[in-house]
Subunit: 506 residues, 2 copies
């Protein structure tokens, strides 16, 4: 505990994590939607919420932990009131950064500093593609999303099942889902933060997949999870069981209030953010009471409701500024920040793209270290689309390239090429062009830059239709990651044993 606290308060350069080669960083300063005084007022407002209104905690163990730590608990109302000094003291032990370890160590990822990590759409109940249309989530589609993710370097890890495999039994679904993830991909995976043995199953399978023992795992974050609060100011019991277990095992939880402005929180973004901040910090504080130094992530998901229907909107101006402001809050507390790539469109059209772009710029310039739902999300998260996945990957790869500052030196200034081309000439044949043309520019997956005539002759396909072709080609050529036969055997053995136990227990 003391070591971790010391690291956060006074990070010695030598103690900093050395990121893997594939780690993306954001070299640009974040955008601040809040002036410094506004940030102070927001912090103060959220502390007043915790002190005066409190959190309803539907979990006796959690209430007892808060109480033991000195907080005032109203047991009848299952409500805890948290003093701001205590909250600040507790969250001080959250590591400002940590490495999320993957089965393939080349996929280890830094969660902190100006690192950026993209994860796929998560927990969608439906999936869709052009030919098959929209259908209930199923194992075949689940596995195909895992395969697609494995095929693109820009996907860093998973923070949820891309689509819910609803066709397999819920009691043992987590076993099959985790087995599929660790055989079809080499990325870090995630688990549902719920009681009933799911957390420990996920952690044990992760240790097997990584080939390390449980003690090692305890000091090496390797699997992640999400806790959503039941906004406003209520936290679900089973999720808190999961949070406590994850914290005890030193595994990161992304604490994400779903503060939909106008519905589950005030209709002003400031009020929504104050409530988000109160809920996130209140729950993160609990994790540190359980296990000081346990890695945690501040999740920001504030958006606005359509006030005519109550439907959630995403990628709106309110959403983008809330992401920037959430980043400011997370940085104030030195806790890694998670945002999302989202949209509310019902098809893979222009709306899906502009709302996704708005949310992506919110997340990237808010310095989110985890950008969840960044590939495949459609319909406000109710559908995982294969074509949208490909389009999102293209957008993420473009963003990665955009985050590379321009190189200026004698070679890139290319004055010799300008001399060679001459006034009014062209550069297609200059030595400099010929030496660089294969790697000079980002090569898009989906964008079609041909002229109207050529495009029409080729069938006049929209980006949606072109993305369909690409996803099918990519799946056809998918290669599973290298995997030790004994590791696979151990995972399969674990799943078989646990399936037997869980089926007997029913």
């Amino acid at each position: 505990m003391n070591r971790r606290r010391a690291r956060k308060r006074n990070p010695a350069p030598a103690d900093l994590v050395k990121p893997a080669a594939g780690q993306l960083f954001n070299p640009y300063d974040p955008i601040a939607a809040l002036a410094p005084e506004a940030l102070d007022l927001l912090h103060d407002g959220s502390m007043r919420i915790l002190e005066e209104i409190g959190l309803e905690i539907l979990n006796e163990k959690a209430l007892a932990l808060y109480e033991q730590d000195g907080a005032r608990v109203d047991w009848d109302a299952q409500t805890v009131y948290l003093d701001r000094n205590r909250v600040m003291q507790r969250i001080e032990t959250v590591p400002a950064e940590f490495t999320l370890h993957a089965p393939n160590s080349a996929r280890n990822r830094l969660i902190g500093r100006n690192a950026i990590n993209f994860t796929t759409v998560a927990s969608a109940p439906n999936s869709s593609d052009l030919e098959g249309g929209r259908r209930t989530g199923n194992l075949a589609d689940y596995c195909n999303f895992l395969r697609l993710a494995q095929d693109f370097d820009v996907i860093d890890f998973f923070s949820g099942y891309p689509v819910e495999p609803i066709d397999i039994p819920p009691a043992t679904r987590h076993l099959d889902a985790t087995l599929a993830a660790y055989t079809l991909t080499d990325r870090a995976f995630s688990l549902y933060c719920l009681g009933g043995g799911r957390v420990i199953d996920g952690i044990r399978m992760t240790a097997i997949a990584r080939g390390v023992d449980m003690e090692t795992l305890k000091s090496e974050p390797s699997i992640n999870s999400v806790v959503n609060t039941n906004s406003p100011l209520r936290v679900d019991g089973p999720m808190l069981d999961g949070l406590i277990e994850m914290a005890e095992w030193g595994q990161p939880v992304i604490v994400t209030p779903f503060t939909l402005s106008g519905a589950m929180c005030p209709i002003t973004i400031a009020g929504a953010l104050a409530q988000q901040n109160a809920e996130a910090l209140g729950v993160i504080a609990l994790s540190q009471i359980v296990s000081p130094g346990a890695p945690m992530v501040y999740g920001g998901f504030t958006s606005n409701a359509d006030m005519r229907t109550g439907a959630p909107a995403f990628g709106t101006p309110e959403y983008t500024r809330a992401a920037w402001a959430s980043g400011q809050l997370a940085r104030r507390y030195q806790i890694p920040f998670r945002s999302s790539g989202t949209n509310a469109s019902n098809c893979v059209d222009a709306q899906a793209a502009w709302e996704s772009q708005m949310s992506l710029w919110g997340a990237v310039m808010g310095h989110a270290q985890i950008i969840k739902h960044a590939a495949g999300w459609l319909e406000g998260g109710l559908c995982a689309s294969f074509e949208k996945f490909i389009i999102d990957v293209d957008m993420l790869q473009m963003m990665r390239e955009t985050l590379t500052p321009l190189q200026v030196d004698e070679s890139t200034l290319a004055l010799d090429a300008i001399r060679e081309a001459g006034h009014g000439g062209h550069f297609f044949g200059t030595a400099h062009t010929l030496a660089n043309y294969t790697t000079a520019f980002y090569e898009p997956l989906v964008s079609d830059w041909s002229n109207f005539e050529t495009w029409s002759e080729n069938g006049g396909l929209t980006a949606f239709e072109r993305a369909n072709r690409i996803y099918r080609e990519r799946l056809a050529r998918y290669q599973p990651p290298d995997m030790d036969a004994s590791v696979r055997q151990s995972l399969e053995h674990y799943v078989a044993e646990r399936r037997r136990e869980l089926e007997l227990a029913r």
Copy 2:
């Protein structure tokens, strides 16, 4: 001249332009794609281009002006070599900011500081909509784009004809186009920077539309134009005639090299930017030789070519970073900056939206004070789309809202509403929600946030199809701006007289 120079070098707060109420400002710091040393190297590279390689100037009057100013001219090669000290001295007199005056003074716009101005697609040779498909530009569509622009406050002025009215005779087209603009809209307009009387016709009609005399106009920029260089390093003769005339009349020209990396300039973005900078500053320097203090704008349009076909790409990672870097260069020289909203898609699909977003974020975070082609541009500028116009307006309005920093105070923190909703409650009926729900959030034009079932029942329309409906509704309810009958009469009289002269001269 001295007054203007003094203003630029030492702007006194009282001397600053007071912007109109509708002026949009960007409160966020720009994104810098270039480190300070890289910016220095780029500047140095561009100066070496002007000194060592020079600009080919296909205009004897311009060459003579450069020579009189002390530059070395190779008359056989029609090439001028510009010394860096002289270039820096000349561009010092370019105003760091100016007001572009409109017929309706509420539409006056600041070009400078952190102001943002959006202008429509310009000079597209084709137009399109869902029902009519793609057709050659024509006067009816031209007028309809003007009407649409007039209907949306977010369109600040024009920097070119939205679509080229090819069905009217070229010799007198500028008269009809300008008359249409000044009767259908109350925004500032633009003219083609070409010889043959077009410039003076545009300026005279602008004076009539504004109801001021020509002397007043000389000190009040009121009509804008664009000079594109014939990259690499060649400048067209008639355009320079136009530039000289515009400068003499104190009207702003946006000097925009079309530096398409790999085709008309080096395949590296650094090389492209060095060439862009040399061309822009070389031409802007000429404007100041003609008329020190004439308002000018630094245009950045660097993008990359598709190296398989030579086709221009837009809204790419290269484009976005080039926009940020161009903004850094323009700010270094204290010259207002113009960028663009662009894409290369052939239909109004997801690609059209994500490339437009990438270019918009490039322009906005590059602190472009003029964002040209921001509504309606399709096919790399070869087509003006009515549906894309509506979608772009939605995106611009979203951007405008996103550029409003969040307000945090007791009212927006809304702790009373949080108390009222209670733990696990909802906010739809709180007093705070009821007091604010009509104005709390940005109301989109095109985004559909309904759920999949409702959306399907309503026909499952894409954003493209919904935008079609909106553009037709907006045109149907279009109202022309208030206009003095005598002004209209004077404009019509001018056009009739000039048409007679020009037809006689043929």
